[in-house]
């Protein structure tokens, strides 16, 4: 399963590389952060939805999955607020960011998870987390982005926090995947969820380039 999860990331790699190499990265970067805010502000509600659905079920996965999701809510609290602060430093007032309607691709990205949580099994959500949290920005990348955009380092605060925190969160997910009594259908659901996440996250990035 881990090999399939790693192989799923290809489309996101292509989109991220195109973003970083974009000739007008300074103009595109605030749009990218708005897009990330549209995605990230759904993370805690999405995780809570997965937690509530998990508590309604009664298979062997539910107890350890619920324990992970409870802790994951705490890991993700207030990240969207930090991103709004970064955007304000770039001249975008918070109210203008939240007033913008997220594009259909973001709705599909997050909406697919709600569908699987409510109409299949919340274990699929782990594929979303694996993809979204498995590739934290590095300090070197943040340096590159600051240099190419010309924006102050302070406006990369959320990225820096994720560079620091997400490796620990990724380890937490890894330990959970090791510990959960996953059957083949569960693993397939996680992989399909990760693949879908990579494709739609990549499409969302490509749409702003």
């Amino acid at each position: 399963m881990r090999r399939q999860l790693a192989a799923a990331v290809g489309p996101l790699t292509t989109a991220c590389t195109a973003l970083v190499e974009h000739p007008r990265l300074r103009e595109v970067w605030p749009e990218y952060l708005v897009l990330q805010h549209q995605i990230i502000r759904a993370t805690v509600p999405l995780t809570r939805a997965a937690l509530e659905r998990t508590r309604e079920l009664s298979d062997p996965l539910c107890k350890p999955l619920a324990e992970y999701l409870e802790e994951h809510v705490d890991e993700e609290l207030d990240h969207d607020e930090g991103l709004l602060d970064d955007l304000e430093l770039l001249g975008l007032p918070p109210e203008s960011v939240v007033a913008r309607m997220p594009p259909p691709t973001v709705a599909a990205l997050v909406g697919a998870q709600y569908y699987w949580i409510h109409h299949h099994h919340p274990v699929a959500f782990l594929g979303y987390v694996a993809l979204m949290e498995g590739y934290p920005p590095t300090a070197e990348l943040i340096e590159t982005l600051a240099a190419r955009t010309g924006y102050p380092k302070e406006s990369f605060r959320t990225f820096s926090q994720h560079a620091e925190l997400d490796p620990g969160h990724r380890d937490h997910l890894d330990e959970t995947l090791n510990a959960l009594p996953l059957g083949e259908p569960d693993e397939s659901a996680i992989v399909e969820s990760a693949r879908t996440t990579a494709v739609l996250a990549a499409r969302a990035v490509s749409e702003i380039l």
């Binding site: 790693a6 192989a7 290809g10 990240h79 979204m132 934290p136 994720h162």
Partner: protein, 63 residues
């Protein structure tokens, strides 16, 4: 063809090259290659990367 049906050395090559989605026809050719032939293919890919000088693939996401 499902990913789990791929030989390990082909899967490792796809991973190294960050290739997630290939047409079925291409996958069918890849699985006919020996480990040595795949290694040759990987060498060519790395040479292309080096010819691109400072271009390198990046993946990042915040959550």
């Amino acid at each position: 063809m499902h990913h789990k049906d791929l030989p390990d050395y082909v899967a490792a090559y796809l991973l190294e090259r960050a290739i997630a989605h290939l047409p079925e026809e291409v996958l069918e050719v890849l699985v006919t290659l020996s480990p040595e032939q795949i290694e040759g293919l990987a060498k060519v890919g790395r040479a292309f990367d080096e010819a691109g000088q400072d271009r390198h693939l990046v993946t990042f996401s915040i959550h």
